[in-house]
């Protein structure tokens, strides 16, 4: 029997690393845009005011950057250390984006960040500005490739199973890298990073205004961040809507869980919170049609016929039967691979016919497909993410409104609101990933490979030790980063000193 605690601890370790990683990366993405914009203003206006502001945010960027890189390398290697079956089963497709990320994005980031930090007095203004933007573009490109990989896990396309090599092999690179799913995932995630940076900059700037320090820089930073932040918020809404459509199409169980929807139907209401519903809204979100049909968890488990298209959808039991047929056929294929061509071909026919359900072959109990305990988590994660997003959009509008009238300092309630909004944007980001990742359990790759068949063959005791090792390490480093950040913020921007 497979050690179930091994799966749980491996999941916990990966979740821990991903959650910590996503504390640092969105700030990197967001601050990159802010400091790039400010340095551009410095070069265009030739005004040291903008250079000083850009350098201040750059300093905070630097404190945050390294720990994001550090947690990122662990994530990359954990695919191998903790999910070794996964690494072989889909490595032919999944490895490529990671390698491209390294070649195209990481080197760009690593090269130009050195120029950005140490090149102020060594390279020309335009080369420095280019380096600042290339650092941000490198970080953003890196997000593109890792999100391509993640989107592929949610909706595997562009590949075919090869029973000889016992893995899925890529057949269409453009489908993997450039289809709608990765594009939307990238735009949604990166724009949420921009919003994170903007909320951080606004919150810190409001603290300066509350302390009556550095008012000109704080007001200018608020203006820049609120414009970018509002743009990001609108972008997040659009891409979120598109992601919802894709979720309804490709991962209906995730959508049903996010809604806590047990029984589906047409013209379905959206649950704002338990007890408050907006009629027809869920159908609109899922299908862009108020009368659209949305299946519930029971429908997906028991099978259903879409009343609009007439399309029949198999029950979990039926999918599991087909999955077992695929697994059995694969075993027969391997058994007769070198000894009996006819039996081998016949096994391959059955395998090809049922390959779509291959992953269901590993599922022993249909309730594994959506354990009730996870529904509560996914339901609330979705609401917190959307609720906080709407709230922060409002904060951006208010900042722009009062900032335009130069009345920010007169409205201390707004300054406090913005300051205390800083943790909210991180909560929203974490909730987004909880929705994305917990919502698709038990799949490592949707319908193709459950976690139970993806895990490495190590003892759970080893993973327990590394889990606590990383927990201790990441927490200590997070605390150190926060105290360093707070000290650097309290100190404020440095005066501009030109080197000889």
């Amino acid at each position: 029997m497979l050690d179930t605690s091994l799966i749980d601890w491996s999941r916990a370790q990966f979740a821990l690393t991903a959650c910590y990683h996503w504390l640092f990366v969105p700030l990197t993405l967001g601050l990159a845009v802010i400091m790039g914009t400010m340095e551009t203003l410095y070069v265009i206006k030739k005004d040291d005011f903008w250079k000083r502001a850009a350098r201040f945010w750059m300093k905070l960027f630097g404190i945050n950057f390294a720990i994001g890189v550090a947690t990122g390398i662990i994530l990359e290697f954990e695919f191998g250390t903790n999910w070794s079956n996964y690494s072989w089963f889909v490595g032919d497709i999944f490895g490529a984006p990671l390698a491209i990320e390294g070649i195209l994005a990481f080197f760009m980031e690593a090269t130009f960040i050195a120029v950005m930090f140490f090149g102020w007095n060594k390279v020309s203004k335009s080369f420095h500005l280019t380096s600042t933007w290339l650092t941000g573009i490198g970080a953003t490109l890196s997000a593109w490739w890792i999100l391509v990989a993640n989107a592929w896990m949610q909706h595997p396309v562009g590949m075919a199973f090869n029973p000889v090599t016992v893995r899925n092999e890529m057949t269409d690179f453009s489908a993997v890298a450039f289809s709608a799913a990765p594009a939307m995932k990238f735009l949604h995630t990166v724009s949420s990073g921009w919003l994170t940076g903007c909320v951080f900059v606004i919150g810190v700037s409001c603290w300066f205004l509350l302390k009556r320090r550095e008012q000109p820089m704080a007001k200018a930073s608020i203006k820049v961040a609120a414009i970018i932040g509002l743009f990001s918020a609108l972008f997040i809404m659009f891409t979120g809507d598109q992601s919802g459509l894709q979720m309804a199409k490709n991962q209906p169980m995730k959508l049903a869980s996010a809604e806590g929807l047990m029984d589906g139907g047409k013209n379905m209401p959206f649950s704002v919170v338990p007890g408050i519903k907006i009629p027809g809204m869920l159908s609109v979100l899922a299908t862009h049609d108020i009368n659209g049909y949305v299946p519930g968890i029971n429908d997906l488990i028991n099978g259903y016929t879409d009343p609009i298209t007439g399309e029949k959808h198999l029950s979990a039991d039926q999918k599991m039967v087909k999955g077992r047929l695929a697994l059995n056929a694969f075993r027969d294929f391997k058994k007769y691979e070198k000894t009996d061509q006819a039996k081998k071909d016949s096994a391959q026919l059955v395998l090809n016919k049922n390959m779509k359900y291959f992953g269901y072959g590993y599922i022993k109990d249909k309730h594994e497909l959506m354990p009730k305990s996870k529904i509560v988590l996914v339901y609330w994660a979705f609401r917190f993410m959307v609720g906080i997003g709407v709230f922060l959009s409002l904060v951006m509008v208010l900042m722009l409104w009062f900032g335009r009238k130069d009345k920010l300092e007169n409205n201390r309630w707004l300054l406090y609101t913005a300051l205390y909004s800083i943790p909210l944007v991180w909560i929203a980001g974490q909730c987004g990933w909880i929705l994305t990742e917990v919502g698709r359990q038990p799949w490592a790759i949707q319908d193709l490979l459950p976690l139970s068949a993806a895990v490495s063959g190590v003892e759970s005791s080893s993973v327990v030790i590394t889990f606590f090792l990383f927990l201790l390490l990441f927490t200590a480093l997070l605390v150190a980063e926060l105290t360093i950040l707070l000290k650097a913020i309290r100190k404020g921007p440095e005066p501009i000193v030109e080197s000889k």
Binding site: F79, G80, I103
Partner: protein
């Protein structure tokens, strides 16, 4: 028509190149391991940290790219080695994570643990990073203890395709003396590179003379260990693969590989000579500061040659001592033809990437780092 075999060989060459560059760039680790040995005063320690602090991301990125490229081109290695030798890779990771944050945090107010702790992290990574990576590479010649059975994927339970054959999860590599010898050789090589890099990058007479002495101290054990390992692999049996994919022990396999692949032999010889030339001239001449380049290029070439010896000419590059037929060779562990082809197109961008790295590097390193610069620069570690 580009054949599948050609793509496999091409990607092994790319992996070898990345490995070579990684060992060259481990001058960062080598220099960091000398923070307390060479840097006696606070100012000297700061010089060392700020000198390597402008380059550490190249090493780190090369390590990440090495991992990513291995995953993309030889996923069965990624799956078998990382999933099996769990503890070796985890230790390597932890040491690099500690390094990544230590630069930025060490001199910042509020860093909780104090600069000494972060510098010790750098020393820890500087010693254990190269040593463990050296041990991992030595297993390419010495073999490891794992079993691969891809057909397990068809089982309902216990479907993990690769298992480590004992509970050590890779730590058993530390019991093989030849792995240790190569691990220590790589560690001393990194220290030599670290000294040479600082001789080139730091403009300070006192540090410079200490570094040249340190270089001599690290060169002697490196040469002894490296030559011992070299002699060992040239006389030992290697892991050959026949046309049917059957792995067997072949007497003098690596010596034969060297004879059958004269180009590799030349690369190896040129690499070793460049390392020796750069090192000896740097020890003898007090004015010579460019040793890092000949040693760096020499190291890269030597590592490339070692990787080619391990993987080319029908050799199993990741052999299993537990089950010889579980050994990994290029043909049974690589990605599909299509993926290797796509990745090969992407790899054409590598020269462009190298070009902008060189350009940016030169822009930053126009002048050597001095104690005066430490006083006037606002951006310091």
């Amino acid at each position: 028509m580009i054949t599948y075999e050609f793509l496999q060989q091409y990607w092994w060459l790319v992996i070898s190149l990345l490995a070579g560059l990684l060992v060259f760039l481990m001058f960062v680790q080598g220099a960091n391991s000398l923070i307390f040995a060479v840097g006696r005063t606070e100012e000297e320690k700061k010089l060392i940290v700020n000198s390597t602090g402008r380059k550490w991301e190249f090493t780190f990125t090369t390590l990440v790219t090495f991992g990513g490229a291995f995953f993309a081109s030889f996923p069965l290695f990624y799956s078998t080695s990382f999933g099996g030798a769990y503890w070796v890779w985890m230790l390597i990771l932890v040491s690099f994570v500690l390094q990544a944050v230590s630069y930025e945090f060490q001199s910042k107010p509020g860093n909780i643990f104090g600069s000494k702790v972060y510098r010790r992290f750098l020393v820890f990574n500087g010693i254990f990073g190269p040593f463990l990576i050296g041990v991992a590479v030595a297993t390419f010649f010495e073999g490891s203890n794992f079993i691969v059975n891809k057909a397990s994927m068809g089982l309902l339970d216990n479907n993990t395709i690769s298992h480590w054959a004992n509970a050590s999860h890779g730590l058993d590599a530390l019991l093989d003396p030849w792995n240790l010898i190569f691990g220590f050789a790589v560690m001393f090589l990194a220290r030599m590179e670290g000294s040479l890099y600082m001789i080139n990058n730091i403009n300070d007479k006192e540090i410079n003379s200490k570094l040249r002495l340190q270089l001599l101290r690290d060169t002697v054990p490196f040469l002894i260990l490296f030559l011992a390992f070299l002699a060992h692999i040239l006389v030992k049996d290697g892991y050959g693969v026949n046309a049917a994919g059957v792995v067997s022990m072949v007497p003098y396999k690596y010596a034969l590989n060297l004879l059958h692949m004269p180009v590799v032999a030349v690369i190896f010889l040129v690499g070793v000579l460049l390392v020796l030339y750069g090192t000896i001239r740097s020890i003898i001449s007090k004015k010579y500061i460019r040793g890092i380049w000949s040693v760096g290029i020499g190291t890269t070439l030597t590592v490339i040659a070692l990787f080619l010896l391990a993987g080319y000419n029908n050799t199993a590059y990741y052999p299993s001592n537990t089950d010889l037929q579980s050994s990994l060779y290029l043909g049974n562990s690589c990605s599909s033809y299509f993926t290797l082809q796509v990745m090969s197109v992407v790899s054409l961008l590598v020269p462009f990437v190298l070009a902008y790295i060189i350009y940016a590097w030169r822009a930053i390193d126009k002048r050597s780092l001095t104690k005066d610069e430490l006083k006037e620069d606002e951006q310091l570690y």
